[in-house]
């Protein structure tokens, strides 16, 4: 490890809500019961102080697995139906990208592909890797893993793109029998996937990357 002091070693805690540096009184034997519980709230904003996000591994795993389960129907089921006088066309996420590539603009197709396919898959792989390596207390590529986590946090919510596209087209394309767009169940699963992956990346504690073994609390 580096020689830089870490908060846990100095008996300090950073409030996760307001950032205030607080003293960690958990090990203080002069305080008992109620006093200690009071002292575990941030004096500035009142949030409960935790050395690490509580149950970070369990929560992140649970949310990530739930998101992955939702992600399967999100891709298999069609997300949008385009109906006109003489044909009905159901689009999945992938077929939407392909159609955009062929008929509209390849540039935009690349953006949609990134937001709807690359970002969710990257999130599953990245968070899975971070969870596994941190649980083992691995020292492998810590800086890169820290950067990977920040990337996941930064780009995560852009996946909502496809959901908004379907919502806007549904509201716009309503020419009675001539042409209509309807949302199909895939889009609901996709929306839930995005929300669950966002919650998963929020519940992961990046400080665990830098901790050794046995430090999840």
């Amino acid at each position: 490890m580096s020689a830089l002091p870490r908060a846990a070693e100095l008996g300090l805690i950073a409030c996760r809500v307001c950032g205030l540096v607080c003293r960690d009184v958990r090990g203080d034997e002069r305080l008992d019961g109620d006093d200690r519980a009071d002292a575990m709230a941030c004096p500035r904003c009142g949030a409960t102080l935790h050395r690490r996000k509580p149950n970070s591994y369990v929560r992140t795993w649970a949310l990530l697995i739930a998101a992955f389960i939702m992600y399967i129907p999100a891709n298999v089921l069609p997300i949008m139906r385009t109906a006109s006088l003489n044909d009905v066309d159901d689009n999945t996420i992938i077929s939407g990208v392909v159609e955009l590539w062929r008929a509209g603009s390849p540039n935009l197709a690349v953006i949609v592909f990134s937001a709807s396919i690359v970002v969710p898959v990257l999130k599953f792989l990245a968070l899975g890797t971070l969870l596994l390596s941190s649980q083992r207390g691995s020292e492998w590529a810590r800086l890169q893993r820290a950067k990977l986590y920040r990337l996941v946090e930064l780009i995560g919510y852009w996946s909502m793109l496809d959901v908004f596209v379907v919502a806007l087209l549904t509201a716009l394309v309503r020419f009675s029998v001539l042409s209509r767009v309807e949302p199909l169940p895939g889009v609901i699963f996709f929306g839930l996937t995005v929300v669950l992956t966002m919650l998963a990346s929020m519940s992961f504690d990046p400080r665990l990357i830098w901790d050794g073994k046995d430090s999840d609390d």
């Binding site: 996760r16 950067k147 959901v163 908004f164």
Partner: protein
């Protein structure tokens, strides 16, 4: 121990630093993990309040005006944000309807109102009534406002629709573009500075 305000802890790796005064353009980065610790506050409280008020006006316009109009054989169809929300609700996609309403309407509106309220009092160096709870609420609202994603989504929808329909952009889409610009300017602002800039009232 030094006063708590004199120290800074990296949220991403738990490394402790002594706080330093930053000058314009400075960004303090963690030497251990490279995360941003703190940056110089380039915007004064007044400037932030002005931006929030501008954003609020643009937001009202973005929600009232239609976003885009489609034409097909002389028929026309246009929609607003709320048109989208209602359409999704009627089409048995209630989950999506709620998601859209929350991330594009209620959360952005809450964020702007809270900030406006807090900054109005911060101008006079005071803490607004309910400061503590509102600052905590703002923290949790964090990444759940998605207006900028919607602008890109609208662009994609326009290109998709362009193959079959005549597309005319309406003022709402320009208002959304302006809103995105304002959000981008505001993105670098660390709202936690309000804790430091306003004194704690004496109990």
């Amino acid at each position: 121990m030094a006063s708590p305000e004199a120290l800074l802890i990296c949220e991403h790796c738990d490394t402790v630093y002594r706080r330093r005064a930053l000058v314009r353009g400075d960004v303090a980065r963690c030497a251990c993990c490279g995360a941003e610790l703190e940056r110089h506050h380039a915007l004064s409280v007044n400037a932030m309040l002005a931006l929030i008020l501008t954003a609020f006006i643009v937001f009202v316009q973005a929600n009232m005006w239609p976003i885009v109009t489609l034409g097909l054989n002389g028929q026309h169809s246009s929609t607003t944000l709320w048109g989208m929300i209602i359409a999704m609700w009627r089409e048995q996609a209630g989950v999506v309807s709620v998601l859209v309403a929350a991330t594009l309407f209620f959360f952005p509106l809450m964020k702007m109102s809270l900030l406006g309220w807090l900054l109005w009092f911060a101008r006079a160096g005071q803490r607004a009534p309910g400061f503590r709870q509102l600052m905590v609420t703002l923290h949790y609202l964090g990444p759940w406002t998605m207006s900028e994603v919607f602008v890109l989504g609208a662009l994609v929808a326009i290109v998709k629709a362009h193959t079959y329909f005549d597309v005319t952009p309406d003022p709402g889409i320009y208002a959304y573009a302006a809103l995105t610009l304002l959000i981008t300017i505001f993105a670098g602002v660390d709202l936690r500075q309000l804790w430091d800039e306003t004194p704690e009232p004496l109990a």
